[in-house]
């Protein structure tokens, strides 16, 4: 038994080293901006650059817009598939997997062709960018919402609300949304993390974003990009931790009390 535990620990430690060593090295390197001493100079420089705020702000804006339109698209679609079109589920699932089989570059040029041709020329607007991000986040957003909908009895809850006189707006906002809140938040945080780190769409469609800024300064400076990379990691991890934390809360809420 002890041997098995030891072996497991060795594998675990190797995994930790494999994962954290590059991060630690990046962190250590980011502290070496001042010769001979460790300092947070690289971080100070990064935070003093107005371009950082400009690009970071844009990425947040894209993320918020992507989340908003993803929710408007995905929640009613997933709900309707559960409620009325369960047979359509494999088709919808297949569509949501498209970003995994279509390279981002191909997708971008597809979007440029679609939105750059008459009658609707939208390439000067961020619509193709947001559309691309929505497609990119679709597998995560759909699956999160889908898992949430599977966990509750959509059909009966909907019928119960209908029998009490509720309309579709009320059912979606007061019955469905609150009961899949955790699942929706998982999708939201995943989408946020994806959009904050996305490079190809923003670069090819020429819109400011955190990832393109990172690439730009990476070619000019040595230490600041390392600091920004770690910040990017930090954002993603924060989102993952939030999902974990919310998921634990949901688990507790599902415990059923009996007796009385």
């Amino acid at each position: 038994m002890k041997r098995v535990n030891l072996f497991a620990w060795i594998i675990f430690i190797l995994g930790i080293i494999y994962f954290f060593l590059p991060l630690f090295s990046t962190f250590e390197f980011s502290l070496r901006m001042k010769k001979g001493v460790y300092s947070f100079e690289a971080y100070r420089v990064a935070f003093q650059d107005p371009k950082f705020y400009y690009n970071f702000g844009y990425s947040v804006l894209w993320a918020v817009l992507t989340i908003l339109f993803s929710l408007i698209l995905v929640v009613p679609t997933a709900y309707w598939v559960h409620w009325r079109l369960p047979k359509a589920r494999p088709i919808v699932e297949f569509i949501t997997l498209m970003p995994f089989v279509t390279p981002a570059v191909v997708l971008t040029f597809g979007l440029i062709r679609l939105y750059g041709s008459p009658p609707l020329v939208l390439t000067s607007t961020p619509i193709p960018l947001i559309a691309g991000y929505i497609v990119l986040s679709l597998p995560y957003m759909f699956r999160s919402v889908d898992a949430g909908l599977r966990a509750i009895d959509i059909r009966t809850l909907t019928e119960a609300a209908l029998s009490l006189g509720a309309g579709w707006g009320t059912i979606i906002t007061q019955v469905i949304f609150p009961n899949i809140r955790v699942a929706i938040l998982s999708g939201v945080f995943l989408t946020f993390a994806i959009v904050m780190g996305e490079f190809v769409f923003a670069s090819l469609l020429s819109w400011p974003a955190f990832a393109t800024y990172l690439e730009e300064i990476g070619s000019m400076r040595a230490y600041t990009p390392q600091a920004l990379s770690l910040m990017s990691f930090f954002i993603t991890w924060s989102m993952m931790m939030l999902i974990q934390w919310l998921g634990r809360g949901a688990g507790r809420a599902e415990e059923i009390a009996v007796g009385h």
Partner: protein, 356 residues
Amino acid sequence: MAFLEINNVSKYFGKTTAVKDFDLKVEKGELVSFLGPSGCGKTTTLRMVAGFEVPSEGQIIIDGKDMTFTPPNQRPVGMVFQAYALFPNMTVAGNIGFGLKIAKKPKEEIEQRVKEMLELIHMPGFENRYPHQLSGGQQQRVALARALAMHPEVLLLDEPLSALDAKIRVSLRAEIRAIQQELGITTIYVTHDQEEALSISDRVVVMNNARIEQVGTPFQIYNFPQTEFVAQFVGTLNAVLAEIVDVKDGLLRFDGQQVHTADKLEGYRNGDRIMVAIRPERLSFAHEGRKANILTGTIKNITFLGSIVRIQVKLGESVFYMDTFNNPYLTLPNIGDPTEITCSKEAVLVLQQQPA
């Protein structure tokens, strides 16, 4: 005019017939149960009354108004589901007051109605509990209160007790009946449990294969089943194919036994074969008092079922069940003993069947 009319309603799902020619009039304040096996169309019929399904043919009229195509959220019906269907994100008060909130009732009125409903279901003080903090029985009582809070004209209950354990089922069904009678609300109750249907209904609609088999009071359904299906489905039954010996005299023969029936054999001829049935409780040992019919056989098995003792008697090729009340001083025969059992002419029921 009846309060709820289901006029010749049929429902088809593609090539499948879920309900066929369902015709029923329900009076105000009446509790009618739809009883039948799974897939017989009882829930589909209920869902058509609720508005969740649109009939392929026929009409649904509530209080004189044609509701056939009215959306469910505009019908004056309240519904209780098998799976409780309480909104997990809302408290008990939130659930009960949901419909009233939708109807934009004043806050004070909602609070007052929630309080009244909680008293009605004997759960005062539970306002701030969440559904996951309640037992199954409590959740279903809250679901009932939620459906009643809107003062619906028709209450629909779709197997409301199926998910509960036996003891709670019995107490809650009595509670449902008491509340229904207190409020005088027209109610449709779907169940596959015959005991449940017989114990709480004013009338029972027995369904099979998408059609109504028989409509009647619980007494009529149990004692005078009109079809073989009703006889077999409701209660335990000894059914046997018998040959008519004498139409005029009501004399029948099966497995070398001869019995008389009080039922008329109109439309049949001597030599026709018909299905007859005798309830186990209508049979008794002949030595305790001989009746019109005497059947001879041997004791095959004896089973104690608490308040009654069920005795299996082999009559030729057939095996009949006979029920007798249990008491500590009961003298029972041994397995394999020859015996004579008896029943009246009225106990021999002729089930509806085309003459052979």
